[in-house]
Subunit: 332 residues, 2 copies
């Protein structure tokens, strides 16, 4: 796992080089990647399709963006995506722990990854956010890349890597308590099912999965990931509180729709913690909601980076067949 951060003092250095485009030889702390595929961020791809229409026009737009910016950053959405490739060169001072020949996926946005495209994206019809691509990318000392495991299909490994911060932080938070009760809102999704497995391993005494539909509840029950599987609309505070029942010590929010803040707060006992992983979380709604409810809860912004998070999530998936089954079911 190439997740070790560089020395603290260099943290500021990475952004300065971002726009420079990849160099043929790595700098002292850099790693050069022969790119195999880009996965465009879903929001970015959707915007490009809406603006440009045909697949050929979308392809031309991506080429133009990378030619101009030296990286794939959608100028409208601001977002990027990730890439897969093989390490071709490693600078002598690289802290990432990678070796030539390693197949890797980047865990830092493409918006921070210098990229050159060498094949004109000839193998991509523009009809999917999965972009076959021959090209070159550069990772910095503070980049994060995960070695793709030999024992898991690429698509499965990538799906796990996409959400690997959630189970790692859930593990940490659950271990702050002694045999706590834990609720995961959106327990049937990717980050949700991994968070349930992480909470169980970290010692959760009572584990509640909240999901929106009976079909999803049945899937989570089959996967055996929770003690209780309850159905409620996570945007309805009273419905969430009622469904969860006795307030829990830790609530993990993995529902990617706006408006889940108050339900999460209501479901959490005083002295408890809410971890918000959903990017749809509203900072003011959480802050003012907890204040308005006089709720003495700690609220964490789900930091997607925890040292060792990728390996931790892969291990969970290997150890919990129920999680893998949910992931594979979602892929179909």
């Amino acid at each position: 796992m190439g997740t070790a951060p560089g020395p603290r003092a260099r943290r500021g250095a990475a952004p300065a080089g971002v726009a420079a485009g990849p160099r043929p030889h790595p700098g002292a702390d850099e790693v050069v990647i022969a790119v195999e595929r880009l996965n465009l961020d879903a929001a970015s791809y959707r915007q490009l399709r809406e603006q440009h229409g045909s697949g050929a026009a979308v392809r031309a737009a991506v080429l133009a963006i990378v030619a101009e910016r030296g990286k794939m950053q959608n100028p409208v959405t601001g977002s990027g995506g990730m890439l897969l490739g093989t390490v071709t060169a490693v600078g002598p001072d690289s802290p990432l722990g990678l070796a030539v020949g390693d197949r890797v996926a980047t865990l830092v946005s493409l918006t921070l990854t210098p990229l050159r495209i060498d094949d004109g994206l000839a193998d991509w019809d523009g009809a999917s956010e999965q972009v076959p691509c021959r090209g070159t990318a550069v990772l910095f000392g503070r980049s994060i890349a995960a070695k793709l495991p030999d024992d898991l299909p690429d698509a499965l490994a990538l799906a796990v890597l996409d959400v690997c911060g959630a189970p790692a932080l859930t593990d940490r938070v659950v271990r702050d308590y002694r045999a706590p009760s834990v609720a995961v809102l959106g327990g049937g999704g990717k980050s949700g099912s991994l968070s349930l497995a992480a909470a169980r391993r970290a010692g959760a005494r009572r584990l509640v999965a909240l999901v929106p539909t009976e079909a999803e509840a049945a899937a989570v029950r089959r996967a055996g990931l929770a003690d209780e599987v309850v159905i409620a609309d996570a945007r309805d505070p009273l419905a969430v509180a009622t469904a969860v029942g006795d307030p829990v010590d830790v609530t993990v929010v993995c529902v990617d729709v706006p408006g889940c803040e108050h339900g999460a707060v209501l479901a959490t006992a005083d002295g408890g913690t809410v971890v918000f992983f959903s990017m749809a979380t509203s900072f003011p709604a959480a802050a003012l909601g907890a204040e308005g409810l006089a709720a003495d809860v700690r609220m964490l912004i789900g930091n997607g980076y925890v040292p060792g998070h990728a390996e931790f999530a892969m291990d969970l998936l290997r150890a919990a067949p129920g999680v893998r089954a949910l992931f594979e079911a979602r892929a179909h």
Copy 2:
């Protein structure tokens, strides 16, 4: 201090009664307030002025809103404000610890406080967000109200109450570490100066105040609230990291402008904590920024409610003449 929350099971009950308007006699867990003044939220007042123009028209608009909604909630901004008044009746089961005759300020938004106006706002010219008002309001079991202290002017006490969550949570977080280094971004403001005083009292070893201007730096130096006072634009990540120097264990963000997330993360050591109090904080910017920087930092959403926060902040102000001087200087 009437800050004790009601039993957990009743948390969901308060909103249901919100729109009903005040009743003449308190319910079992209610408190009736003879209103003396409303302080409209700044954003709400600005919107009303822009929409309605003259003071008389603004007054009519506020009367119409309260008549229609049973509470002062600006339909455009969604925000309310707070009120001052005197307790006239206390239900037998009220958990707020208030007695008839207490002068109080509400710490929960007017948007959650049933209100009836009895004087047509005759004493208000509509030219300020401070609204003299005779009327009746009702607090619920889960409302939060603070008794106004006898030894501080109302205006000063209200200014402290407005930000009292910040020093209380800063105290908690700083005590999670052993003699930590602490930086407060926006250390010259109300929540910032109180947070500096709280961090000092909680055992901060090295205390850095970051402010935007030389004038503010001079004021914070005179107040003696920090070991180091540094000047930087909190929206410039590298400038913040450079100004703070050695990364700190705890960073407290009290700068009420957007774009301070990355600087706060960069200024914080691995294993450290960032507490975001600014309502201008962007959840995705914080989450994705920390991930992109591979920063192993804990990020807290500043919950404005901590049990005992109002009394805690008043005590800090009394004990730290420098804080009081800053507050009084800002009022002029």
